[in-house]
Symmetry: C2
DNA sequence: ATACTTGTAACCATAACAATTACATTGTCT
DNA sequence: AGACAATGTAATTGTTATGGTTACAAGTAT
């Protein structure tokens, strides 16, 4: 299984809002860049808004970032779009047999390990900000321009 | 989304094979500890066998570990049961708009970052061996005994 | 031969996902 | 006020992974 593309789309949206900040970022416009339906964008935007990453208002066209670019890490986006619940990256079979030494302990033994592994991944995401993403994209564009 | 419990079940199975190594570990027996169907166990066992972690033979009851406990990391189990493909922990929306600076670069920008995050998680799993799991369970059992 | 076990394949119910449609709500503009 | 446009949200759909279940062929031992 794999983590929902809502995460990648969230990054895409926020990046585009920044790069197109002089324009009007309607859900329709953003959707055309992501290549999906505008309702999908609005749904994700709602999550980003709840997380305080973005300002959008009903009836008013366009979205703006609510924070500075360098203040938003990928981990913030990841949490915002709710792709993985806390301590639930790995699922554990439930109701193992309590009459077996392994069955009655496996969950408690394995959970903290899974938790460490999940945290390691999340830590890596928190080391990257949207500013890094935007810079990288601008770099790539510049390279092509030559 | 969350990573299939095949992983946790794989750990459970291997641990139990070790702890019950004086007994006969049939799929039926293992299934009763995991609390699932024996066919599910056999399917997972097939994966563990393909990965060279376990010895099982058609018609012959019982499974044995194919390696030393301390030589099997959780990452080995994780790879064996195929819960996450390489570089595919995170999914990325496909066909973003190539006419948009963000659309045409987002994949190349984001992929290496996702890859680093996934590796960090996998690294954490490779730091733990089945010997650690078995020890922890035996510790927990001993504590209860007092 | 009989009994037991592993190895597979087929099938099913469930859940998450992304896309889509539809519509109420909110705001802007004339 | 009324028309228009955008957001917010709910309902529906096709697709896919999962975990469980049944069934049975193939291998092994007594």
């Amino acid at each position: 299984m794999s983590i929902s593309s809502r995460f990648a789309v969230g990054i895409h949206i926020l990046t585009l809002i920044e790069i197109n900040k002089s324009g009007v970022n309607t859900s329709e416009y953003l959707a055309s860049s992501v290549n999906t339906n505008a309702a999908v964008i609005r749904k994700i935007m709602g999550m980003l808004k709840s997380a305080g990453l973005v300002n959008v208002r009903p009836g008013i066209a366009g979205a703006q970032l609510a924070k500075d670019l360098s203040e938003i890490t990928l981990f913030d986006v990841y949490k915002a779009v709710n792709v993985v619940q806390e301590k639930e990256l790995f699922s554990i079979h439930d109701h193992p047999n309590p009459d077996c030494p392994v069955g009655r302990n496996i969950q408690d033994t394995v959970m903290p390990i899974f938790s460490v592994a999940q945290s390691a991944m999340e830590k890596a995401l928190s080391n990257v900000t949207l500013a890094d993403i935007v810079n990288d994209i601008l770099e790539k564009e510049k390279a092509v321009g030559k």
